[in-house]
Amino acid sequence: MSTPNNQEVLKRNNVSVKGKGNRPIIFAHGYGCDQNMWRYVFPAFLDDYKVILFDHVGAGNSEESYYNKEKYDSLQGYADDILEICHALDLKDVILVGHSVSAMIAVLAANSNPAIFSNIIMVGPSPCYINNNGYKGGFEQEDIEQLIEALESNYLGWASQMAPVIMGNEEKPELGEELTNSFCRTNPEIAKHFARVTFYGDNRDDLKKLKTPTLIIQCQQDVIAPLEVGEYVYNNTENSSFRIINATGHCPNLSAPEATIEAIKTYLEEAD
C-alpha cells in the first residue's frame, strides 16, 4: 500500500486538534479503549497547549481499512502512525502522553525520531507483561490466553447486544456521537490481534535506548502494571522521574483524572 498523504493520516487515526496553546501535547490511548479515555483529562490542557487526540487504527473511529496484520504485528506499526501524525501536523517539541501499551508505543516513536519529542509521559507502563527469567511482569502466558477467551465470549454477548443499547442512548446526549460509534464497532479480530501484540510484547531493550526526558505515573494498585513493574521502568529509563499517584486500577485517567492531571502538570512545570 502506498504511504497515505497528510489528510489520509488524519482521517486514518481520527485525529482531533484542540486548544489555544502552541506547544503540542499528544494523548495516546491504551489497549481496550479509544481517545475517549482522555475525556476527563485533556480539557485541563486546552488553555495552555495544543491538544492532539487520536484513535489507534482498529480502535474508536479510526479507519479500519488501514488495518493490516503485518504492519500492526508489532508496536512499531502504531509508533510509526504517531510519527506520521506529527509529520502531518508539522509538530515539534512534542509532549507525548501514553497510557498503558501506548507508553511503550511512545518509547518506540521517540527512539525512531528523538528530535521531535521533548517529553514522554507514561501512565501505567509495562515493558513486558509476562514473567520471564526472574523478571516479574505480573502475568503468565496462560493468563493472556484467558483474556483472549474472555474477549471471544464477550464479543459474542457484547458486540451484538451492546450495540443497540449504546446506539439508542438517549438519556445521555452529552456522550456525543463519538461514543455511539466507538466501542461497539471495534472489530473483534483486531481487538484479539492487538491483545496479543500488546501482552506478548517485550520492549525492555527499547526502554534502555530511550533518551527523551520521561515521567512515569504509577497507580498504587494496578493489576495490569503493578508497582514493581513501574519501578523497573524507572530504573531502566535514563532521564526519568517516578510519581506514584493516589489511584487504584489501571485507568487513573478515568478513575482519578484530577490526580493524573496534577502529576502531568507538576512534571511539565518542573521540566520547563
Binding site: 493472556i144 490466553e145 464477550n154 489501571h250 478515568l254 484530577e258
Partner: protein, 673 residues
C-alpha cells in the same frame, strides 16, 4: 380464606431488604476502586463466601478469572466510566471453592460529589445453561461455515472442470458451422452453439459467484470515462433491442466529469446484467439507462445509475427473492425467458464491494426500475497531465497524423474510434493482420494500434511483416493486449513493436502512449533499451539462430530420395503441407486446451518428424501437452510455450518452403545419375 390472608400478610411484611437479599439474581455494589461494600444473600450463596469475607475486603475484579480481570481493567471499567453504564457483559465468576460459573453483569454508575465518591451498582445473572446453548450454537455456526466453504470450493472446482470440455464443444460447434451443411444440420449446429454458449456463461457466472463468496474479488482503481462505457454498452445492446422492437437510450447528466477513477469492469458487468435483464423481460416500449450526478467534491463523486424498462414487471412478493441465487420471479420465467438466475445475485455482490446495493421498484404489467449508487474517486490531475501534453500538440501536427487501428473485436474498434474521434485524430481500421498489411502498403501511417490476438494473421506476425516491408517512414507500432507485458516483451522486441498498452485500458492510458509517439514522430522507431534488455535480446538472438539451425535437417531425406531432386522437392513440399496441417491441429488442441489432441498430433507426426529430424518441435509439443495436463499450470507459461511452439512450426514450414534444392543436390551430382 385463612391461607389467602396469611399470604397477603406475608406480602405486606416482605421488606425491601428481604427483596434485595432473596432476589433470584445477584446484587453487588462497589466503589470507584472496585472495593465491594454490599452484596445480596443470593450472590453470597452462589459464591460460597461469608459476608465478612467479602465486604470491604474483596474487589469486584477479584471475583473474576485472570482473563476477566484484564478485561475488566482494559474494557469494562473504561466503558462504565465513559458511558455511565454497561449491560450484559459476560464474565466467568470464581467461587470460594475455585470453581467458576458464567455470568452476565449489568452495571450502573451513581455519580458522587467527586469521581472518587462514585458508586457502582450491578446485577449478576447465572447463565450456565444459556452458555451451554451458546457454545452449541457457536459450534453449529462454525460447522455450517466450514460446510459452506467446502461447497464453494467444490463449486469452483467443478465449474472449472466443466469449462474445459465445454470450450471444446463450443469450438467444435463453431468449426462445424463453418463446414458445408444442409439447412437442418445448420439449425442443429446453431442450437448446439447457443446452448453451449449459454452453458458457458452459466459456468462463468458460477465461478464469479464462488470467487465473490470466497472474497477473492478486489476492486480495481483505473481511470475511465463513464460516457464511453455507457456508449459501448448501448452499442452492444442496440442490435438486440432493434430486433425486439424495443427502444434503447441513455441519458447522462451533462455535469458528470469526463473521467473518474474506479473499477470499470465491475460497473460494466452490473450494467450489462441489468440492461440484459431489461431486454429479456421487455417486449414493447423502451429501456432507458439514466446516470445522475448526486454529489461531487474535490475528491469523490457520487453517481446514481437507473435502468428503467416497460417490461412485464415483478410481483411485489417476489421483489426480495430475485437477488437470491438461482431465483427468478417464477419457475415459468426460466422456461420462457431463460437465464440462470445468477446475474442479479452477482451484480448485488459486486455492488457490495462498492458499499452499495441495488434497489428495485416494479409494477407488474408496467415495468421495473433497478437503481444503485456508486462513489468514485475524482480523476486525479497527475494523470490529466498526459492529456494536456497531448492537447498542446499543434493542430498542424494533428493534421498530418494518421493512425491505423488493427483489431478484430467490433466493440473494441468502436471504443477506440470514439476516443480518436474525440481527440480529432484521423484513423482507419483493419479487422486483421492481413488487412493491416494491405492498408500499410497503400497509406502512410504514423502510429499503428495493433491487437495481438487476431484471426488470419496475428499482431506479432503482422508487425514483423510490416517491418519487413522496409517502409521509408516506419510507423510506431503499439501493441494492445490483455496478456501482461512481461510475457510478450521478447516477442515484441523481436517483431519491432515499439510499445505496449495493456487491455483493458482507459482513455488516459491510450493518451499517454499515443501522444508520446506522435510527439517523437520524427525519430521513430527508436526504442531505448537498458543494458540488461540488450543482453537478453542478444541471448534470444543466439537462441534463435541456434534453434533455427536445429529446427530440421534434410540429410536423411536427401539420402532417402537417392539424390533425385524432383523426388526431394515433392517430399519436402508435401512435408511442409503436412506441417501446416499439424500447426492447424495444434492450434485447435491448444484453443480447446486438450492435451489429448497434442498427444494425437505427436503420434500422427512421428514419421514426418523422423524424416526431417525435427526433434525440437516434438520436445515443445510434449511440454505443451504436459502444461495442458496440469490444471494448475500458469496460463502465462502455457501461452509462452504455445507461442514458442507456433514459432517453431513456422520456422519449419518456412524453412521447408524455402529449401534451395540446388544446394542440397548440386546439379552436377544429378548429371551423374
Amino acid at each position: 380464606m385463612e391461607n389467602i390472608e396469611k399470604n397477603s400478610n406475608l406480602k405486606v411484611h416482605e421488606s425491601a431488604e428481604e427483596l434485595y437479599h432473596e432476589a433470584p439474581c445477584g446484587y453487588i455494589s462497589f466503589t470507584n476502586t472496585g472495593i465491594i461494600y454490599n452484596l445480596n444473600a443470593t450472590l453470597l450463596n452462589w459464591l460460597g463466601y461469608k459476608r465478612e469475607e467479602i465486604i470491604d475486603v474483596v474487589k469486584v475484579q477479584d471475583l473474576f478469572t485472570i482473563g476477566g480481570k484484564i478485561f475488566f481493567e482494559t474494557h469494562f471499567f473504561p466503558l462504565i466510566r465513559i458511558q455511565g453504564f454497561a449491560n450484559e457483559i459476560n464474565f466467568e465468576i470464581r467461587k470460594k471453592d475455585r470453581t467458576t460459573f458464567p455470568a452476565l453483569i449489568n452495571v450502573k454508575e451513581i455519580k458522587g460529589s467527586t469521581i472518587e465518591n462514585n458508586i457502582y451498582l450491578a446485577t449478576i445473572f447465572d447463565i450456565a445453561d444459556r452458555k451451554k446453548y451458546e457454545q452449541e450454537l457457536l459450534k453449529s455456526k462454525q460447522r455450517a461455515e466450514k460446510a459452506t466453504r467446502a461447497k464453494a470450493d467444490f463449486l469452483a472446482t467443478i465449474s472449472h472442470e466443466i469449462r474445459t470440455p465445454l470450450n471444446a464443444i463450443l469450438g467444435i460447434g463453431n468449426l462445424l458451422s463453418n463446414t458445408s451443411l444442409n439447412a437442418r444440420q445448420r439449425e442443429y449446429t446453431e442450437i448446439l452453439k447457443i446452448s453451449s454458449g449459454n452453458l458457458l456463461s452459466l459456468v462463468n457466472n458460477l465461478l464469479d459467484l464462488s470467487k465473490l463468496e470466497a472474497q477473492q474479488m478486489k476492486l480495481e482503481k483505473k481511470s475511465f470515462s463513464i460516457q464511453t462505457l455507457i456508449d459501448s454498452l448501448i452499442h452492444t445492446f442496440e442490435l438486440k433491442c432493434k430486433e425486439k422492437g424495443v427502444e434503447l437510450s441513455a441519458e447522462l447528466d451533462s455535469d458528470i466529469p469526463d473521467y473518474v477513477t474506479g473499477d470499470p469492469i465491475k460497473l460494466n458487468q452490473v450494467l450489462t446484467n441489468l440492461i440484459g435483464n431489461a431486454i429479456k423481460f421487455t417486449s414493447e416500449g423502451y429501456i432507458r439507462l439514466v446516470v445522475h450526478l448526486m454529489e461531487i467534491d474535490s475528491n469523490y463523486i457520487d453517481l446514481e445509475f437507473r435502468v428503467i424498462d416497460t417490461g412485464i414487471g415483478i410481483p411485489k412478493d417476489k421483489l426480495d427473492t430475485i437477488f437470491q441465487e438461482f431465483s427468478q420471479a417464477s419457475y415459468d420465467t426460466n422456461l420462457e425467458i431463460g437465464g440462470t438466475g445468477l446475474g442479479l445475485s452477482i451484480s448485488q455482490k459486486l455492488l457490495e464491494l462498492h458499499d452499495s446495493k441495488i434497489s428495485v421498484k416494479s409494477q407488474t404489467g408496467i415495468g421495473s426500475e433497478f437503481s444503485f449508487q456508486i462513489q468514485y474517486k475524482v480523476y486525479d490531475s497527475a494523470n490529466a497531465k498526459a492529456r494536456q501534453i497531448f492537447e498542446h500538440l499543434d493542430s498542424d501536427d494533428l493534421d498530418s497524423v494518421r493512425v491505423l487501428v488493427v483489431e478484430d473485436n467490433p466493440v473494441n474498434i468502436f471504443i477506440i474510434s470514439e476516443y480518436l474521434k474525440e481527440w480529432q485524430i484521423k484513423f482507419d481500421t483493419a479487422r486483421n493482420g492481413k488487412k493491416a498489411i494491405e492498408a500499410v502498403k497503400s497509406t502512410k501511417y504514423n502510429v499503428i494500434l495493433m491487437d495481438l490476438n487476431m484471426p488470419i494473421l496475428n499482431g506479432f506476425d503482422a508487425a514483423l511483416e510490416i517491418r519487413n516491408l522496409k517502409l521509408k517512414d516506419q510507423p510506431a507500432i503499439l501493441a494492445l493486449s490483455a496478456t501482461s507485458r512481461e510475457n510478450v516483451q521478447s516477442q515484441l522486441d523481436r517483431v519491432g513493436i515499439n510499445d505496449f498498452i495493456s487491455k483493458p485500458f482507459g482513455p488516459d492510458d491510450l493518451y499517454k502512449v499515443l501522444s508520446h509517439y506522435i510527439k517523437t514522430r520524427p525519430n521513430m522507431p527508436i526504442t531505448i533499451r537498458s543494458e540488461e534488455e540488450l543482453q537478453d535480446s542478444a541471448d534470444l538472438a543466439c537462441n534463435n539462430t541456434a534453434s533455427s539451425e536445429k529446427s530440421f535437417d534434410l540429410s536423411r531425406f536427401v539420402k532417402m530420395t537417392l539424390n533425385k531432386p524432383e523426388f526431394l522437392r515433392k517430399f519436402v513440399l508435401n512435408t511442409a503441407e503436412s506441417f501446416k496441417d499439424y500447426l492447424n491441429d495444434f492450434r485447435i488442441a491448444t484453443d480447446q486446451k486438450k492435451p489429448d489432441g497434442i498427444a494425437d498430433l505427436i503420434h500422427k507426426s512421428t514419421m514426418s518428424v523422423y524424416y526431417i529430424q525435427s526433434n525440437k518441435i516434438v520436445e515443445l509439443l510434449r511440454e505443451c501437452q504436459e502444461l495442458l495436463e496440469n490444471k494448475d499450470c500458469d496460463q502465462a507459461d502455457l501461452q509462452i510455450k504455445i507461442n514458442k511452439t507456433e514459432e517453431e512450426f513456422k520456422r519449419i514450414i518456412d524453412g521447408l518452403n524455402e529449401t534451395d534444392f540446388d544446394v542440397l543436390i548440386p546439379s552436377d551430382n544429378s548429371d551423374h545419375k
